[in-house]
Subunit: 340 residues, 4 copies
């Protein structure tokens, strides 16, 4: 049994970690860290988990990490780097924030502002895109989970850039995401009255996950790749769908993705010409990818759907933690999606 | 390992059975029965389950039941009784339809119209309200799952009538249910455009689950009990909340319910004065019950929340099947609710 | 043309007033008051109204009231009484807050806490339930709009208490309301992720609108009436449905309501046995009422549906303002509901 | 006063016509045509309009058209052409189906299958994109309303192709639409349980509105234009958002659109860099357009939002009918959007 602490447990990614670990046979939650909600029973903060026997929420500085094996850190960026820097050396760490995703400090500063407070750690952190960094994740001390939008675009496109079968200058990622990705903070723009029965784009051509796209796509292509990326906010809680327009042969793209993912436990390439739906991956660690030829030959539309709280953050985090702890990668993650 | 067949697998209760059995360690699905959709892969009918290795949908008459241990029957009422009557004797059966819930053929005819085609089976069927009929369910061949609205009202009220601590003539069950309870049939009234952003009552003072209330409440009270019951349709997919107005002492009611359910694995009585929410049981087999005193002394408001597709039908069905197969009652059912 | 100022224009009731006045032929908006958002164009605060030519939002203390005829005041309670107390004498005022609804200062203190800062005004204010106080509203200087839940229960029940055809000790008002009633303030509990796909009761047996029920029901019945009242929060933006359980003859109740409302422009009594839906009054000033006999003779279930932002607050406010300004009561209010 | 008949009045576009005409000062509904629902009161079919005094639904063949001035035809395509062919010559007709949108019979056959049954009428019909065909619409007998998705893409892109400021070979229209566009027919795929909490693309690279894009874009550009077009289904009832990726200078695009639409009553170009939301045009005849520069110079992202049932069909139809009847174009159409 591996002893687990979750920092930032009062947010949605924290609750999703608790939900998934509740039926994970090899992990046991020993500490739950929070700030404002320290002192509360977890079931008061998240009543859907009231049936679980869990530790009381604590201030991070009050947690005894001596018996802990691995820490999930679901804190806001900037806070995360300061907290992680101070954690004892024996701990393995999976960070769900943006703090350790970008290799280049200049890129970090460009997208997130301010200097990085833990540059040494940033150097050693491994990017948590399991399907591409599995070997580096296994022995890592610190793994940086991907952005939820980032992984939705990276999984279908990275293999195509590596195989050099799409034009790297003509990639458009149009994406729609559920509301839970914005977290549990009280913001006017995320009220039910503001979100339901409507749809709009946000952070157009300026979303921070562009830093991850630039880093990973450029590395894969062996040249600078600058994608277009337009996220939209959906009137639903969970789920991201990326609709990606590329120039390349649809059938070749399809076959490349099938070859890439045929042995992956969580990435499914649908039959040629079919497109996925976010509702069919809700609450699960699966990613569904579809390839459809466009009207014009030489162009294709690629779809990618996953749950932002599961494969997009907390499920992915557990997948990486499984590897870091020497467990079977899929342990505790094969829950079927919830539909309807 | 117990071999399972699911009849009526192309409906929502069928899909929920498949979802739950997917991570059940002691059940394996060997046959999936459907009518119009026979011949299709299950993942075509329910793409959220495409990652599972499942049998092709078959016509019921083409299923080989010889190696099957237990059948879940999710067919419409009236159809269900004819199909079950013809099933081989060696099969254990959990029926999710209304066909075997009512003991009295006259009551069946009153609420569902027409004569019952399997009166002998009706006599031997056990009502699937696990928390009250556990001993009879274990050795039963045929268990009749409760109505999803019925169980939501029965769990909080039955113990109070048995204890004679509420007035049996003054029980009002006001209830709101999600859309999935209406099934997957294409009906104008269940279109997204018709259901979302709205709320209304239906089947007022005439809902068929009244037959179950009358049967079970009268038996518990030792006298005829006629409740008021008003169901409403919610603009959400899953979840039932019953708000029940009774005349009796709130604290006594609370203590009676705590005593009744303190050892039950799936029924939680919240702290006195707290009320549950459907979103906190979504996708799980849990039922949350709350008791709040009314303004007027001697009156109380009791709340009960569960997921209509899980504790209200398919989760309950597996709970009963576990008992019938000699398994631990909770096997495969301890998934945490999905929130948000 | 009547010159209008709206104070508290940055909230939902303010926006609803602007929406309705936009097509009102006898009112023109001359000033819009706000606090934090003062200085902004109205279209920045509510982009759905960007096509209108409106004044810039101002601090209330900066508004020149000299040319204004009537003020709508959509401020929070407690603030409202202080602001209204300081308004020039020539102004007619329709207050949408709770500050002037209760006649008895002790009742005000009981439900809202603290002493009332404008007791003299409180004495002269008229309760804005148009259908019952029309004659007093016409000459009034200050009209206090009803609570949105309150009016939903008052319209169907007041005539029955006056006619003494229901038992005043056995009235249960079960009610469900959309999220917009909670306003535009950023609260965790009102986030889309917290509200959608779920249903729960709140302020059980303690909601402040009970003060209005007690005042009006007791006056109508000529004796103290204490109702049970349980509000629930719906995953929808607009609309309230009250489901009211009474003891009395359903047919007599129906006929009493038909007689009461046959000449009313905004209150519709549906055919006997039919029940309304909130989606069928959305965005309109209509209230739909239905009466259905219960299973037990001598009991009835009464339904009442209206839009909390329209008939429940801003539409009602304009209806009252029309009367106060000597206009036809229905002016600008006959917009059809928006469905789907 | 102009006498109006609505054929296909039992669908959503029919109800939207009735809703809008209810407050239109120069139109009066004299006949409502339906098929299966003939004989019913309109308020039984659409309870939100029960307060209106309307004719009973009739079979089309039973309608007396002698006193009618203008017919709105909201029938399914293929049916529409047969019915319209048989209408008396004195009638002006606004068709909301696809039957008369395409000028070229071969294109009609390609996208809709089968031969056109009213080729002579097809030749004379005017495409109902008011902002571009106003002069031809005024004297027309038959105007063919645009597809709801088509108009959402045409309004922002047509002026750019005419001005030759974007690359006609690199236009990608990514679009998301509400459910009401699919009509009121009972289809499994449009059930609340299937649509809510999810998002997916449909009719990828094959949607029939491509016929309209090809026709209008090619005509405007003076060369064959083949766009990419991917519609998605939103979990909301009303509203379309098009996100359009083009190659051209963002500022030039913005200025061209501002110049094109500055005098238009229903098309608003937002300040440079801002993007619209569907919720801010709900229930109105307005279209909001925004232009945002992409990360890469020489590329822009254009957004267009409108209500599919209003500006996308029934509002547009009334706008055209106003012109055909010699009325002010905006008559009855200046209702403000409904938010929240």
């Amino acid at each position: 049994m591996n002893n687990i602490a979750i920092l930032g447990a009062s947010g949605y990614t924290g609750a999703e970690l608790v939900r998934l670990i509740a039926t994970h046979p090899e992990m046991e939650i020993k500490a739950l860290g929070a700030d404002r909600k320290a002192g509360l029973e977890y079931g008061k903060v998240f009543p859907h988990l009231r049936h679980l026997d869990l530790p009381i929420l604590q201030k991070i500085e009050e947690i005894d990490f001596s018996g802990i094996d691995l820490v999930f850190c679901g804190l806001p960026h900037a806070t995360s780097q300061r907290v992680i820097k101070a954690l004892p050396d024996h701990l393995k760490i999976v960070d769900l924030s943006a703090d350790f995703r970008l290799r280049d400090p200049a890129e970090y500063k460009k997208w997130y502002g301010g200097d990085h407070a833990a540059l040494e750690l940033q150097k050693t952190a491994v990017y948590g895109l399991t399907e591409f960094y599995r070997d580096a994740i296994k022995p890592a001390r610190l793994v940086a989970g991907t952005g939820c939008n980032a992984i939705t675009g990276l999984l279908p496109i990275l293999p195509l850039l590596k195989a050099k079968i799409i034009d790297p200058d003509q990639i458009i990622i149009d994406l729609a995401t559920g509301v839970s990705g914005a977290g549990r903070g009280a913001k006017e723009a995320m009220l039910h009255s503001e979100v339901s029965e409507g749809f709009h784009a946000y952070a157009i051509a300026s979303h921070r996950h562009l830093g991850e796209f630039d880093q990973e796509f450029s590395k894969a292509a062996g040249q600078a790749v600058t994608v277009s990326f337009t996220p939209h906010l959906l009137p639903q809680n969970r789920g991201i769908l990326a609709t990606i327009y590329v120039q390349g042969d649809a059938k070749t793209i399809y076959e490349t993705l099938v070859a890439q993912y045929s042995d992956e436990p969580f990435v499914y390439v649908l039959p040629f010409g079919e497109a996925p739906a976010t509702r069919h991956v809700r609450g699960s660690n699966y990613c569904h990818i579809g390839v459809v030829p466009d009207r014009q030959s030489g162009r294709a539309i690629i779809f990618s759907a996953l749950d932002n709280l599961t494969k997009g953050s907390s499920g992915q985090a557990i997948q990486n933690a499984n590897l870091m702890l020497g467990l079977e990668e899929t342990t505790g993650l094969q829950l079927a999606p919830l539909f309807p």
